[in-house]
Symmetry: C2
Subunit: 505 residues, 2 copies
């Protein structure tokens, strides 16, 4: 949304004015609106194609809570999910900030209402001086990319900013405070915020201007007149739902990807797969040593208080992911880690944006999550097998980098392992699995088919390694023809990463 | 399980002895066991009929973590869900103790492994003297009833208690501590527990004896020899799964219900439905007054720290549940309450015990959850419409009383409202709904069919009121022919209940 002059300053000027709807007009319009909203809601449910997410934000006393009540009254409340976001609880604060919003996203077909959302804490932090302009800018950019991702995932995002002019808010507070039966409606929090009205207005104006993008503009709602604001929200909601229902299926545009560096394509071929740990005794000693260091780190007070670990295990079929994971978990207290094996998504997971089912397992501070396969499925199997449109796996690189950046900036250590074996070794292991009765379940027709596509997978892996290796969440390619070498390298890499992170504070 | 003499003392005597399996025998038996386990696991998944829950409990160092690793290695880890339960986090502590276990229950078809569970905290609390024998007895009884409920819901519950004799545990600790590379395996926690070995043995023995019921006996696992204990768990797991798969469908037995008091049957007919609030001004004043008191209570520091509110709204169709709920929420900060409208269960919810989908919305301290319809559906619509076997809705009374008792004993205030209108008033409202375009969605064929079954519903409601009205979670029957009277009575009742609970401390 381009606005001439100072967009932040001008953001609320129009809404400052008087906007009223007379009672008689309201009654007529409300009846028609309610009917249309309910019918549209049922149309959404009959063939769930997209989720609708309504953000309710803005000034205290401008009718936010009343509007949430109204939406529940107008539509069938069984299919509206309202989530309120007070200051984070201790458990929420022990997770990355976006975790609680991800958990509350509505599934396809439903309407979610967020009362307060990802904008609340950054604006408050800037107003109270806890963060500076540069930090707010960083957060604003992240929010823009997050909302773009929601749009690309097909979520219909409607953002309403409820506004009162300074004079309107003052008049409202005075009227309520005069009557002892209504004085409770003006909370201490509201009075405190009002004392900083001008500061809130400036910071909010800049934020609203910066995050009013084409895909998700803020809709300013003049909040002084209950009738006007109700119709303002209801009419816009109805129009947006109808427009979206009538639109052809939304497809995200393919992103512009930078050309890959020349060396990227041969990274796997340049590996020295002969690396090994020769003696059994040597292996056992090394394993015990690194497991001991890992155990101590997992009980380190600094780790418990402000860090967590996310380990991603990917690799060729039969490369030994499960065995490597168990050597890690053997060093951990079973109460403080979780292994998540990624299978086909459940019905609930399919109704959500792609990364939702991985976010739900993100550990709180003090915990480990080990992913046996992961969100990289999108740029590996889904790409190679054509399960996903090109534009969708191509945009996944940036979305994954954003996701992992949310984790690392909250103190999480992200270790990603690609376990590599060559085709001869894979063939040997496939055959051994077929010959061992209790391992036959590990080898299917699909594994043989994947093996036939070795070059296509190699290409996808090399591109993944090149595009998703930021400094704070790099890939470690593990030579895994020798299982002992692979296991030691995995644990050692994790230990070194944890030590470096704890020492960095 | 009846044991002569002192069952607690004798509980672990057999397991004290030496139990070993030689390596060569282990290899043979393990291979056959793994194959059978994997095949059985896939059979469970193909036609998900029941959930399997494995509890891993017992002495430190007796191989609990290793066994969890083994189960993951033996079977397909994508369909095993391991949950570890360290001491409760702040958010968990702000919910009733059983909440975190409910959230982690495995769905039908899957195998869940709980590392530590509902037994851990009571045993620890008794050993450290935080609770006395009577309190432990209360907790033990609750656990027995909870496990009975799981069994009645079809969950296959397998409880393994890992044991080491005092000498065995001492030898293990000394061997590990001798080698600097393995000394980390003996944690400070384990040393502290070992110093109280005898005390733990006595308390655990009594607890294990008391909770070894026919439906879910504890299986004592001698833990000193890794081979023996692995086969001990694996063989029993396999046998239990096979037995259950071969068994005809499990049906819970009908409970013995006490005869209803004579007055119960006419409770609804004795209501004075003419009660009303006459003037609009009078209504508005009263509403504002009670909403103000409710708002103050919701912000009371005592409420935030140690209480929460669960409000249940049931009533005749068109009795005004939605309108009453909105008068309550109008007094609350939208960030601190949640309205849950109960519709048909989702796929995920149908794969769980009945109460699971209500437990998930239980509020933490400081919050309100308002249920628009509730767990009482089982003894109302499901009973009248024959959706549920007689034995199942009949046992629901006791399960619901247990559920609500878990809430109230954690400081939650449970207010249950039955909104009652008479048949004439219902007819009037049904017709009005049909004539108002935006209310037509609220009236369906089903509502008319339900109306034809008025006497059957009345009987079910009266029995529900009689069987589920303990002192700390009573029903309030609300005369709702006059909406104003109903709304005022609801808020007033909630305010009085909160005030009484806060004053009681």
């Amino acid at each position: 949304m381009m606005v001439a002059g100072d967009p932040g300053r001008e953001m609320f000027e129009e809404a400052d004015g008087s906007h009223r709807v007379a009672k008689s007009e309201y009654r007529l319009r409300e009846a028609a609106l309610r009917e249309a909203l309910v019918l549209t809601q049922y149309e959404l449910l009959r063939a769930p194609k997209f989720a609708t997410l309504i953000l309710i934000a803005g000034v205290d006393g401008a009718g936010k809570g009343e509007t949430v009540n109204l939406l529940n009254e107008w539509m069938d409340p069984r299919h509206i999910e309202v989530a309120g976001f007070p200051p984070p609880t201790p458990d929420e604060a022990a997770h990355p900030p976006m975790w609680r919003f991800w958990r509350a996203l509505p599934p396809k077909g439903k309407i979610g209402v967020f009362f307060g959302a990802w904008h609340t804490m950054p604006i408050l932090a800037r107003v109270t001086g806890k963060i500076d302009d540069a930090a707010l800018k960083t957060r604003t950019d992240q929010i823009q990319r997050f909302e773009q991702m929601l749009a690309d995932e097909g979520v219909l995002l409607l953002k309403f900013w409820f506004h009162l002019s300074k004079a309107q808010q003052k008049a409202r507070m005075q009227a309520l405070e005069k009557d002892p039966d209504t004085a409770w409606r003006v909370t201490e929090e509201e009075r405190a915020h009002f004392r900083q009205y001008d500061r809130f207005r400036t910071v909010s104006g800049d934020f609203v201007a910066a995050t009013s993008t084409g895909i998700a503009p803020w809709r300013i709602v003049p909040g002084a007149d209950a009738n006007y604001r109700a119709l303002c929200v209801g009419d816009q909601l109805l129009a947006a739902l109808k427009e979206r229902l009538a639109a052809p299926e939304v497809r995200a545009a393919a992103p512009a990807l930078a050309p890959l560096p020349r060396k990227a394509a041969t990274r796997l071929r340049d590996l020295d797969l002969s690396k090994s740990v020769a003696g059994k005794k040597d292996y056992r000693d090394k394993l015990a040593k690194w497991q001991g260091r890992l155990n101590r780190l997992s009980r380190d007070a600094r780790f418990k208080a402000g860090h967590a670990a996310v380990c991603v295990f990917e690799g060729n079929d039969a490369a030994g992911k499960g065995g490597a994971i168990r050597r890690v978990t053997h060093a951990l207290d079973a109460r403080y880690y979780r292994t998540v094996s990624i299978a086909a998504p459940s019905e609930e997971e399919r109704a959500q944006p792609y990364l939702w089912r991985f976010w739900r397992h993100v550990p709180r501070h003090g915990f480990f999550t080990l992913y046996d396969r992961s969100w990289y499925g999108r740029v590996l199997v889904e790409r190679v097998e054509d399960f996903t449109q090109d534009a969708d796996w191509q945009r996944a690189y940036a979305e994954i980098n954003d996701f992992e950046s949310e984790l690392t900036s909250h103190g999480l250590v992200v270790c990603k392992f690609w376990l590599a074996i060559d085709q001869d070794e894979q063939l040997r292991r496939f055959k051994a699995r077929e010959e061992t009765s209790f391992k036959q379940f590990k080898i299917t027709e699909e594994d043989w088919r994947n093996r036939d596509k070795w070059p296509a997978y190699e290409k996808a892996v090399c591109e993944m390694l090149a595009r998703t290796s930021p400094d704070n969440a790099p890939w470690t390619v593990v030579e895994a023809n020798d299982k002992r070498h692979a296991r030691i390298k995995v644990i050692k890499t994790l230990v070194k990463a944890l030590e470096a992170r704890l020492d960095a504070g």
